[in-house]
Symmetry: C2
Subunit: 337 residues, 2 copies
């Protein structure tokens, strides 16, 4: 089986976006604020939105199942306040649940959290628990920067986040560290903010003792781990200069990188420096880069091709990346209904 651990519902029906716009309008004029039940999306609309996109791509590329979450750029935790984020998150997660219920062989859910800048992440615990227990979701997306590019909340290693981590450990769910859109003009969202978020989180982990406090806590760093594998010598060296244990021991029992790296040389590097035990297959479809690479004639985000072409991994190592590691990182995957 080939499991893609990183897909977002980027193709949701337009009425979702229209609801969000009404919600944003309602921040200025409360009379315009929409009721939750004003959004009506029929099952057929969901089927249509998935069948021609994610499901078709799964078939075309020979992958079997996608670990699926709301559109990352759409989370936009910086919009409004905690109540804004709570309603929006509720709606987005419910839609993911409906996708997974309609296509149970093809999708397993991961939730967005109702984060809000400056608000303690304790407020995310109930939604996480609901999504795991009622919807059967197996993980969450955690935004290390709810401000959307100004980085005003504490690092992921601060005790600020610990109540949420306690619940994650209790529920046996990992988090993918994933920023959302950027409202800072310095950062293009998929070209800078996403990659910076990944790099930043990894360095936060290095400087901390987070995994002493939470030995079973697990994070997936998407987009191939940001800049980290390319600068693996820098990170090994910085940990050493800081008097930390080797990375294998210090963070790599808890941190995993996905394969959303959109060219052969990048995937070759990733699989050369990062152990197969720490890599999860992913392509982030339908996602950040939509075009066909003129150098190869294939979609940039067809990451399976790059992995298939890697010559330095054994069959067992590839199986770990494509499938086995998912059982380890997402214990609820096996237990799902």
């Amino acid at each position: 089986m080939i499991i893609d651990c990183h897909g977002h519902y980027t193709t949701a029906p337009k009425s979702l976006e229209a609801f969000r716009q009404r919600q944003i309008d309602g921040l200025k004029d409360p009379k315009l604020a929409p009721a939750k039940d004003s959004l009506v999306i029929k099952d057929d609309e969901i089927r249509d939105s998935i069948e021609g996109a994610q499901l078709r791509i799964q078939r075309e590329r020979g992958t079997d199942l996608t670990i699926f979450s709301p559109r990352a750029g759409g989370m936009a935790h910086h919009v409004g306040n905690a109540a804004t984020s709570a309603l929006w998150t509720d709606i987005c997660n419910e839609l993911i649940h409906r996708v997974c219920a309609l296509f149970p062989k093809n999708f397993v859910g991961v939730c967005q959290l109702p984060q809000s800048p400056g608000v303690r992440p304790d407020n995310c615990i109930a939604e996480l628990e609901r999504c795991v227990k009622e919807y059967g979701f197996i993980g969450c997306n955690l935004n290390p920067d709810p401000s959307g590019g100004y980085w005003t909340d504490p690092p992921l290693t601060d005790k600020w986040w610990y109540p949420l981590y306690e619940k994650m450990v209790e529920l046996e769910v990992p988090a993918m560290v994933h920023v959302s859109s950027s409202c800072n003009p310095a950062f293009h969202f998929t070209g800078a903010h996403y990659i910076n978020g990944d790099t930043t989180a990894f360095m936060q982990f290095i400087t901390s003792s987070l995994f002493k406090d939470f030995p079973t806590l697990k994070f997936i760093i998407p987009h191939g781990g940001g800049a980290v594998p390319y600068h693996w010598g820098r990170y090994r060296g910085l940990a050493q200069d800081l008097g930390k244990p080797p990375l294998a021991e210090h963070v790599m029992k808890n941190v995993y990188f996905d394969t959303c790296v959109y060219h052969q040389a990048g995937i070759d590097l990733l699989t050369r420096v990062i152990p197969a035990d720490n890599i999860l297959f992913a392509s982030e479809i339908v996602g950040a880069v939509k075009g066909i690479d003129p150098e190869t004639g294939h979609y940039y985000d067809d990451t399976r091709r790059y992995l298939d072409a890697v010559t330095t991994l054994s069959r067992d190592e590839k199986k770990k990346i494509f499938e086995d590691n998912v059982y380890k990182v997402y214990p609820r995957f096996r237990k799902r209904g």
Copy 2:
């Protein structure tokens, strides 16, 4: 000849740091503010600070000359105001000039700029001109985030920066895009802020038409270009999705990456995806990572070893990286006294 395009005066005499501390104390209590001439550093102190460090390392590693600038982390443009930054920059640049005058075969200067958050970069023009014309410097370091991790100034592609670019073009000097220390607890400075700054700048260039406005403007993106070469497919694909020309045409006539990547796999990737015409040798000594890699028995930052070991570059291509590209990127290098 082997030219290292990226070295900082990280070993300056302690009295420099003490002066800076007095300057910072003076921000709270103006009576404590030091006069410029209260800092006295003798030539022998400078010799001592260089001979056992950068000069010894040049000899040991078989490099000939370093393009040398003030300590990047020390620029700290977020401290105080424009006047604070002006005095500090004046002092730091003068010290670089003295190093270059004492060791003219080994060092050529690049200046720090008196940037300050929210202050138009027009205020940097006089210092740039002074350093180039009086000191014979051949480039500058440009901080894309004078706030030190909050990214509150406009992107490098905004017209905000154009007066400085006009002067750079007139003087024929490039800028190395280099952030300074981070005062944002989210970002470790050498492990996150530096790399993020590099990645961010490159994506700013992609989304803009900056090099249509300044066809001869040149930037060096240090630390191997941040995350960019590892995600080269993503950047090619994003440019394509945005309707921009291919990167070779759109930005790579103006943007160069250095080789501050501290392991063999990273340098192999860099030289595989980025043309030799766009790579400049550098090691950032005495710099970010100080230790010896237990996997190789050599210093992490001994980047010459990695380049020597690359098997896919021709002799001519290596010569471009080690020497020839410097003449192209820094036209004043050849003209220096």
